[in-house]
Symmetry: C2
Subunit: 181 residues, 2 copies
Amino acid sequence: MNYCSSCGNSVTLRIPEGDDRERYVCVSCEAIHYTNPRVIVGCLPVHEGRVLLCRRAIEPRRDFWTLPAGFMENGETSAAGAARETWEEAEAKAVDLQLYRIFDVPHISQIYMFYRCGIEGGAFGAGPESVESALFEEAQIPWDEIAFPVVYKALKEYFDDRRKGEYPVRVSSIERLRRPG
Amino acid sequence: MNYCSSCGNSVTLRIPEGDDRERYVCVSCEAIHYTNPRVIVGCLPVHEGRVLLCRRAIEPRRDFWTLPAGFMENGETSAAGAARETWEEAEAKAVDLQLYRIFDVPHISQIYMFYRCGIEGGAFGAGPESVESALFEEAQIPWDEIAFPVVYKALKEYFDDRRKGEYPVRVSSIERLRRPG
């Protein structure tokens, strides 16, 4: 950030009065520009016991497999955003959404929210950000080609939980992005 | 938003190529400025069966009672943010945090995350944004003086859950802010 989005003058990094951390503050109008973590919402869509994954058509992690997910938009709920992303990336209509997994990723100021869901009619395709989508049995999951640690971990836990027949909502943090495996 | 925070030139609202909603786009450097929902993190602190509430020293809802909560900051986890807010607003050290309640509030593009927690040593005070803090038995909760619908709802559910001895993680949306009662 170099300029005040309100008045167009320069900003400087300083601790505003009554605050305890640096913010971008306008040198002219004194507007304080806060930046906050962003929420990524997504689904873990399941149809007849198989999980829907998308192979990414874009960077980062192009050609690797992921769950449909993306930035939550203003004016929507987290579940609506997760369903929207599932439509946009996998052309699948998410139904019966149940909150399942939350990941804090503080070093990149992100928080992930994954919902388990069904797929209406079992129909899916590939949106512009996906090369292809496919349904996978547990034994067929391409574990070495999963795009992101949060996706790898959510999938592993899902299959473990399924064996137990219980899907508790969990939250934990991932301190640093590492490739699985 | 009037000016590009990157180059200082004017921005215009338009739908970028490949997108499906309006964004602020710089007319000069073409930077796209996304805005996303903000996360509010807080605690429902309990000590010896009583819940800690803070009476607000600031607007909105000055003098009304609330749970300690505030905007999640970059670089922290949701639990760390909830504990930080509990310290800042109630001078209480949150321990044993358990994710409890998520509220989507789409019309103001916010998402709330409340953690149940204990209070180290049962000690608390009042930070600069609070007039006072106090521990309340269920029968003493000032239901007509609760600051926000999300707080009212979280408290009601907490006491119901406590009677059942189960605290499932719930998510639901509040479509419009209304005063309780």
